[in-house]
Symmetry: C2
Subunit: 398 residues, 2 copies
C-alpha cells in the first residue's frame, strides 16, 4: 500500500472550458483512496502554495463539485509564473509543513515545466513527492499527446464562430479576417475549417504559425479568392510570424510575461493591421477583422462532450497512477489505432512534456501553406464532437 | 377575399441568429394562402430586387426550410443601402413586371425606412402594394416594440460571453474590457449583466451610449472596482459617445455606410484605445480588451428559444395581416401585462418604426450611469431564456 499523505492540487496557465473537469476528476478519485488525507486546493497555482492559500476540497458537496466541473475557467484561480530557486525552497517548506505527498499541477507546457522544476528540486532535497502534471491547453501543443484536454471545446467554439461568420459574410460580402489564439501551434486556427460542408464555405484561407507569413502572398491569396467568390473569410493565428520567426503581432505590442511570451491576446491590433494591409493593397472596400479573444477558452455552454469526458478521466488517471506507484510524471492522451475513435491514458516523463511545443504536422497543412488538409479534419472532428447543422437554400432561380 | 398576386420577400441590414426564422415563418404562412401566387426571395435586399435576382421559395422542401430557419445570418443575403428616387422607380417597375402585390422587407429601422420609402413611392405611383416591414435587430432599438427579434439570442451570446470572461478574469485577475455591439442603443451591452449571480460577479461596470462617456469618470470607476476586488470586468458599447455626442470610436476610424453610419464593428480599435487609457492612467499591469464583433449576431447553436419562436411568429403574422386586410405597416411585439411573460403582435405604421432609434429607458440605468438596474434584468431575462449554470467553490479555508 502507498504511504499516507495529504494531496495538493492547483491550476496554472490560461484557463479552458474543461480544466475544472480535470480538477474535479482528480478530487473525486482522491476521495476513493484511503492513502490520501487532506485534499487541498491552492489558489492561483504556485502563488497560492507559497502563501499557503488553500481551500479544503473535502468540504465541497458532490453536487457543487459537479457544478464546478461543468463551469469554464480555473475555479481555483490561475497564475502565469515560473518559479525561481527561492520560490522552490518556499514551496518545499510549505509542502513539508503540510505533509503533502501527492501534488498535481494542471496546465500546459509552461506548467509542466513548473512541475518539472519543483519535482527536480524535491528530488535534490530528497523530499518524497509524487508530483504529477495534468495536461490542459486549448493550443493542443503538448508533446507526447495525441491531443490535449481543452482543445476540443475551444476548437468547437472556433469552428462555430467561423461558420457563423462565414454565413454573415455571405449575407454582407467582403473580406473578413478572424484572429484565433495559438502562440506557436496552429491547431486551434486550423479548427476554423471544421464546419465547412459546401465547396464555397469559408474559411477560404487559413494561416498557421507553422508557416512563415508573407504579406505579399497574403494579399495575392485574398485577391484570388475575392475575384472568384466576391468575398473572402480568413482564419489567422495570433502567432503568425515572418520567415525570421518574428511574430507579426510583435510590431503592435511590447508586453511580455514571466515566461518571456509577448502578449498576443486581449488586443485587436493584429487583426486591424491585417485588415489595413488588405485595404491598402487592394480595391476591396469592405474589410473587417474580429479577434476572438478569451471567449475561445471560457465561453460557457458549448463544451465538446468528448473533451469534457477526457479532461475528467485524465484528472482521475493522474491520481490513480500516483497512488498506485511511487512515481511522478505527466498524463498523456494516446489515440488507439482503428476506425472508431477511442483513447487511452499513459504516464510519461515530466521532461518529455515540459516547455517545448508540439507543432501542427506537415500532413495537416496544404502545400501552399494557406489551408488545412482533409487529414486534419479527420484528426480533429472526433475530438470536437457534434457541430451545429447549417442550412442553405437550394436557390432555384425564379 | 384579398386579391391574387405574387409575394416578394427580402432581408436587409445586419444579420441576426433568428432573421431566417422570420423569413421561413413568412414563407410557410404564405403557402397556406391561395391569394399568394409565386413566393419570390430577392437576393441581397433591394439590390436583388433591382436586378431581378430572385429565387423560387416554393421549390424549397419543408425540411430545407426548417434547416434554414435554424441557421443564423440572412439566407437570402443582405444589403446596407438606402434607395434613391431612381432606385425606387426601378423597384416599382420590377414589382409591376412580376405582379408583386405582397412585399415583405425584414430588417431594422434603416430597413423600415427603406420599406417606408418604397411604400410611399408606390402610393404616389398608385401601385397597389401590401408593403410590410418585419422587425429584426440585435440592437433592440425599434420604436413601438417591447423588444425585437434577434435581440434575445444576441443578448444570450453576450451574457454567456461576459460570464465566461468574468470567470477567466477571476482566474487571471486584471482589467478586462469587452466591447459590445449597439450603435445608439445600449440594450445589448446591458445584457452583459444577465448571468450575474454572486455579489462580485462581473461585469462590474457597464457603459451605454445613452450616457455621455467621460474618460476621467471611467478611470475613477475602474480604479475603485480594482481596489475593492483586485480585478475589474467592463462591458462597453461600441457606440459610447462624449457629451457632445461624438462617438469615441470615431477617433479611430473614418469609414461610413450609405445611411451615414460610421463603421464601429469589425475592428478592435475602441477596445484597444480604452485599454490604453487604463494602462496610462493607472498602475494596473494586466489590462486586456476583446471586441465581440460579428459573433454576437451570427454564432450558431446558442439561439434563445423564446427569440426564435417570436421571430418565426412575427414573420407569419405579417403575411396573415397582409392577406387579411389591404394595408401596409410593420409588425411590433407587445408584452402583455402580468407576471408570466407573454407577448402579442400588432400592426403599426411604417413611419412609426422607420429611422429613429429607441433608447434604453432611464429606469434601466443606474444613477451613476455605469451599470444597469434590476428593472432591466427583469425585463430582459424572459426574452433571453435559459442561461448556463455557473458553479463556484464554497471555498472553506484549509
Amino acid at each position: 500500500m502507498a504511504k499516507k499523505g495529504n494531496m495538493l492540487i492547483a491550476q496554472s496557465g490560461g484557463p479552458s472550458m474543461v480544466i475544472n473537469q480535470s480538477l474535479i476528476g482528480a478530487v473525486v478519485e482522491a476521495k476513493k483512496h484511503a492513502e490520501i488525507g487532506k485534499i487541498l486546493g491552492a489558489r492561483h497555482g504556485i502563488q497560492g502554495i507559497m502563501k499557503e492559500d488553500f481551500i479544503n476540497l473535502r468540504k465541497e458537496s458532490a453536487a457543487n463539485l459537479e457544478a464546478v466541473a461543468n463551469t469554464p475557467s480555473s475555479a481555483l484561480g490561475s497564475i502565469r509564473k515560473k518559479p525561481t530557486a527561492a520560490d522552490c525552497t518556499k514551496i518545499f517548506n510549505v509542502l513539508k509543513k503540510n505533509n503533502v505527498q501527492y501534488f498535481f499541477y494542471i496546465g500546459g507546457n509552461d506548467s509542466a515545466e513548473t512541475a518539472h522544476i519543483i519535482n527536480e528540486e524535491a528530488k535534490a532535497a530528497k523530499y518524497d513527492l509524487r508530483c504529477f502534471h495534468i495536461p490542459k491547453t486549448i493550443d493542443n501543443d503538448l508533446r507526447q499527446n495525441d491531443h490535449t484536454p481543452g482543445f476540443g471545446s475551444a476548437a468547437k467554439f472556433v469552428a462555430c464562430a467561423v461558420a457563423g461568420d462565414d454565413l454573415d459574410n455571405r449575407a454582407l460580402p467582403g473580406v473578413k479576417i478572424d484572429v484565433i489564439m495559438g502562440r506557436h501551434a496552429g491547431f486551434l486556427t486550423a479548427a476554423a475549417a471544421l464546419c465547412r460542408t459546401q465547396p464555397d464555405d469559408g474559411p477560404h484561407l487559413i494561416y498557421l504559425p507553422e508557416r512563415p507569413f508573407d504579406e505579399k502572398a497574403f494579399v495575392r491569396d485574398v485577391k484570388a479568392v475575392y475575384k472568384k467568390l466576391g468575398r473572402c473569410v480568413i482564419a489567422v493565428s495570433e502567432g503568425i510570424a515572418d520567415k525570421k520567426g518574428v511574430a507579426i503581432a510583435q510590431k503592435f505590442t511590447s508586453e511580455v510575461d514571466s515566461h518571456g511570451n509577448v502578449q498576443l491576446s486581449g488586443s485587436g491590433a493584429l487583426g486591424d493591421a491585417l485588415a489595413g494591409v488588405i485595404k491598402d493593397k487592394t480595391k476591396i472596400s469592405r474589410v473587417r477583422a474580429d479577434t476572438f479573444g478569451y471567449l475561445q477558452r471560457s465561453f460557457p455552454g458549448i463544451t465538446s462532450e468528448v473533451d469534457a469526458k477526457e479532461a475528467r478521466e485524465v484528472g482521475a488517471f493522474a491520481v490513480k497512477t500516483a497512488v498506485k506507484s511511487n512515481t511522478d510524471g505527466s498524463i498523456a492522451i494516446k489515440r488507439k489505432p482503428g476506425k472508431k475513435y477511442s483513447v487511452t491514458y499513459k504516464r510519461v516523463m515530466l521532461r518529455q512534456v515540459a516547455r517545448d511545443t508540439r507543432h501542427v504536422p506537415d500532413k495537416f497543412i496544404n502545400k501552399a501553406g494557406n489551408n488545412v488538409t482533409q487529414s486534419f479534419i479527420d484528426y480533429a472532428l472526433p475530438i470536437v464532437g457534434k457541430l451545429p447543422k447549417i442550412g442553405h437554400f437550394k436557390g432555384v432561380k425564379a
